[in-house]
């Protein structure tokens, strides 16, 4: 087991290197110039000379391989560099500032999705083709098919404009600083309700369908048959024997959604004016802010590799049919 993990970690290093190299190449090949966004693209006041100077300051005048090497040598010292945006702040600081809200939203969203999707999946599977099954199928697919931005705007129109129950956008009230401790938290929560609703509604379909499918397969297995045959109550058969086995694929998918937790939804964040990772990433792409794009990319790809490894290890631990790295006896 130890050797297996070590080998995987060692293999991950060149993989990460390859990922960063290709990404670096691709984003630099994309047309557009970070300098343009400083001097205002087509602003007649900005001289060609000023642009040249900025390019030099950022090291953009050097050949691409040199630029990559410089970036890489800084990275191994965990220096992600400074943003090309006029604020010129360290990349890590910019990411750290936006990460908490995105994480919070995604974790809550994921928890709600799981809390809803597992029972929905189980019920749909055990009562296959029942009215409940059909109704939930229609419902989750509606969520899947509804465009986020449209649903979000409808919710704002109803709950913020017409009824006035919830704030339309943002994270905090204008007078947040002057509220009492409890009111602050209440206010913050009320701002989260709509965005979380939109994100959850859209993500429900996938998990509940996986759960249903996985459950359907498990209940056809022989051991379920024998559990029933030995006279166990249906609750115990489904809840104890079937559910645990049916959860296996769900755990895998969960592991793989780990890197997704730090990437925000651009649409939800823009419409609800939430300053999260999604907005940061899109802005950096539009502004060709290479250090921020690359910084974000390194973090996401590292997380993906870690998640893959974790999923494999977890499989080995959970599923007795899989043995990792051990000497196999033929």
């Amino acid at each position: 087991m130890f050797w297996y993990v070590l080998r995987r970690v060692l293999l991950a290093a060149p993989l990460l290197l390859g990922i960063t190299f290709i990404s670096f190449l691709v984003i630099h090949l994309a047309p557009g110039d970070p300098v343009d966004f400083h001097t205002g693209d087509l602003s007649p006041d900005s001289s060609a000379q000023a642009k040249q100077m900025l390019r030099k300051q950022y090291g953009l005048d050097k050949p691409l391989p040199v630029q990559y090497w410089n970036w890489l040598t800084r990275l191994v010292r965990l220096d992600f560099g400074r943003s090309f945006a006029p604020d010129g702040r360290p990349v890590l600081q910019k990411i750290a500032e936006r990460l908490p809200i995105t994480l919070l939203l995604n974790v809550v969203e994921m928890a709600i999705i799981l809390a809803l999707a597992v029972p929905i999946g189980v019920f749909s599977a055990t009562r296959q083709y029942s009215r409940f099954d059909k109704a939930t199928t229609v419902f989750v697919f509606m969520g899947f098919a509804t465009p986020d931005f449209w649903f979000a705007l409808l919710l704002i129109l109803l709950f913020a404009v017409q009824l006035g129950w919830l704030p339309a956008s943002g994270l905090r009230d204008i007078n947040w600083e002057y509220l009492s401790f409890w009111k602050r938290h209440g206010d913050f929560l009320s701002h989260l309700i709509l965005p979380i609703t939109v994100a959850t509604f859209g993500g429900l379909a996938g998990f509940s369908r996986y759960m249903r499918q996985s459950m359907l397969e498990v209940v056809r297995q022989d051991y379920i048959q024998s559990a029933r045959a030995k006279g166990l109550a249906e609750r115990a058969v489904i809840g104890k024997h079937a559910l645990r086995n049916a959860m296996l694929p769900i755990v895998t998918i969960l592991g793989l959604s780990l890197p997704g937790l730090i990437g925000g939804s651009v649409i939800v964040e823009s419409i609800f004016a939430i300053p999260g990772m999604g907005q940061l990433m899109v802005q950096s792409v539009f502004q060709r802010d290479y250090p921020v794009i690359m910084g974000n990319l390194v973090i996401v790809s590292t997380l993906t590799l870690v998640a893959n490894l974790l999923a494999d290890v977890a499989y080995g631990l959970v599923d007795p049919r899989i043995r990792l790295g051990g000497r196999r006896r033929q």
Partner: protein, 551 residues
């Protein structure tokens, strides 16, 4: 700071300062009470910004949000009043020598920086040095290159000498002044961007002090009680960052935002036209300082022929375009200057919608025969071209479609191609890899447009994208920028407009209207040739109508 705003900002429908005030505001019947009410202090104004600010030292940023905030924290020596005249701001008065080369400013006394230190002539000299320092990453160096020498004669007198007469000299001193005592070392080391004043503690002389900036969320300012002029009356300003135009509109409908200038023509004209909205907001409308054009690559032999361009101008009905694309909320452009401003010349050649005349002009240019597809043919080649514009601007897309339909009637085939902004500019416009484009120009308050029309400005980073070259235009541009007297400059710019109208290097389409709305409870908002924002420090909310007590 007055800049020719980048076209990308026009894309975002950000309206800059603007002109002519023929359309009344929505103040309604309580107009009399509004005029006589006495200003009082208090209340909070909540506004929306489409994008986050990039920093708190506007001299080194180029986005409109940073300048909106920066212009409240800092001030310059001069500013524009409601009628667009340059008046003193930090300067009490100034004199200009007869040859336009010497300028002496008398500064206001008793002006204090937000940290309590006195503002002096030394700070003006420092700001100049910061702007021209090669290590300062600013887009606004050009204005100061013509300065030959600058000196602080005494604490409140600054003398500037120019190497040659420079028309924008006075206007350039509207640049925000920076404090020497805080920023000198950062400028010297070329680290101005990293200074704490750019991030969390800006110190200016303007009407508002900085309170808070939550990245991507909001910027909060509070009134500077030591401001050297009257006001500001509004105690606190909250700028919320909302990247979605649709959300801003809904926030307005929910009355959670007091002022916005991001409404689309459709929202302004139809979707806000109900009693509740009219009661809650005053609507304003005036032409913005930006126009949209249909431009050609003049290196293309087909477009190099003036008659072809004139034919296209005749084929496009500008009125129909404004009606269809802007619901009528725009003014026809006859040249690159805004109607109603001092430099605008109404007596230029116009191109009424006239397909017959257009066909005739094309025939004169050799486009007579048509092929089986109904397309004009010359030397065996049909007249077709690709019209490009940028993604994310619905108006430009519609314009392209209307042009396509209009030219089709003449027998000219148009393919439309819509490209992402950065690739469009970098790969096609700057490299001159286009046949025709729909784009916009933001125009400054000074009429100098040397960078856009002069034949020397055709390099890859230059702005004469269409490769226009006309010796007489060059001459007018050169003369116009080297005089500092309005009446003399007007002669050159009048002629410039005549030539541009005759030449049609681009078909000038329209100036869209700026469409701001401000909460009804705010008094003192007036519409002028300079828009509504110029007297912001005089806006106030009568005590009985005040909504927020905090701050």
């Amino acid at each position: 700071m007055i800049v020719l705003r980048a076209a990308v900002l026009v894309v975002l429908a950000v309206a800059a300062a603007a002109c002519t005030s023929e359309v009344g505001s929505g103040t309604g019947d309580d107009g009399a009470a509004r005029k006589t009410a006495r200003p009082v202090y208090g209340d909070t104004l909540i506004e929306a910004l489409l994008g986050d600010i990039q920093g708190l030292i506007p001299n080194i940023t180029s986005d409109s949000a940073s300048h909106t905030i920066g212009d409240l924290i800092y001030s310059g020596l001069v500013k524009r009043d409601g009628s667009l005249r340059l008046v003193g701001d930090l300067a009490e008065s100034w004199t200009v020598s007869r040859d336009c080369r010497n300028m002496t400013f008398q500064l206001k006394k008793n002006v204090k920086w937000h940290d309590g230190r006195p503002f002096t002539a030394d700070d003006v000299v420092f700001t100049y040095q910061a702007m021209v320092n090669p290590k300062t990453p600013t887009a606004y160096k050009e204005d100061f290159k013509a300065v030959e020498s600058i000196e602080a004669v005494d604490a409140h007198t600054v003398r500037v000498r120019y190497a040659r007469p420079y028309a924008k000299a006075l206007q350039s001193w509207s640049t925000n002044m920076l404090p020497r005592h805080l920023l000198e070392s950062y400028v010297a080391e070329g680290r101005l961007r990293e200074a704490p004043q750019n991030r969390e503690s800006p110190v200016g002389t303007g009407p508002y002090r900085f309170k808070e900036w939550r990245t991507g969320e909001k910027v909060v300012l509070t009134a500077n009680r030591d401001y050297y002029e009257t006001g500001p009356y509004l105690s606190r300003l909250v700028y919320r960052i909302i990247p979605s135009q649709a959300t801003i509109f809904l926030e307005l409908k929910a009355k959670a935002i007091d002022s916005s200038s991001t409404l689309t023509a459709l929202q302004y004209k139809r979707q806000t036209d109900y009693p509740g909205f009219r009661r809650a907001y005053q609507k304003f409308r005036y032409p913005s300082s930006a126009y949209t054009y249909f431009g050609f690559n003049l290196k293309d032999p087909r477009f190099a022929d003036k008659r072809v361009r004139q034919a296209f101008a005749h084929a496009i009905s500008k009125q129909e375009l404004i009606e269809g694309v802007r619901l009528g909320l725009g003014r026809e452009a006859t040249g690159p200057y805004k109607p109603g401003t001092w430099v605008y010349n109404p007596n230029v050649k116009r191109y009424p919608h006239d397909l017959e005349r257009a066909r005739q002009l094309l025939a004169e240019a050799g486009w007579r025969e048509k092929n089986g597809d109904g397309l004009l043919v010359k030397d065996g080649k049909p007249f077709t071209f690709t019209l490009m514009t940028n993604q994310g601007n619905d108006e430009r897309k519609k314009i392209a479609e209307l042009i396509q339909a209009s030219l089709r009637e003449l027998g000219v085939g148009v393919d439309i191609r819509i490209l992402e902004w950065a690739s469009f500019i970098k790969e096609y416009v700057k490299k001159r890899r286009f046949e025709a484009i729909v784009l916009g120009w933001g125009i400054g308050l000074d009429p100098d447009q040397y960078e856009i029309w002069h034949s020397s400005k055709t390099g890859p980073d230059d702005l004469n994208h269409i490769s226009y070259a006309n010796p007489e235009v060059d001459e007018m541009l050169e003369r116009g920028r080297s005089s500092c007297f309005e009446d003399e400059r007007k002669k050159y710019y009048d002629r410039l407009q005549e030539i541009l109208a005759e030449d049609q290097p681009v078909v000038f389409l329209y100036f869209p209207d700026a469409l701001p709305v401000v909460a009804t409870r705010v008094y003192g908002v007036v519409e002028t040739p300079n828009g509504i924002g110029f007297n912001f420090t005089e806006w106030f909310v009568p005590r009985s109508l005040q909504r927020y007590t905090a701050g």
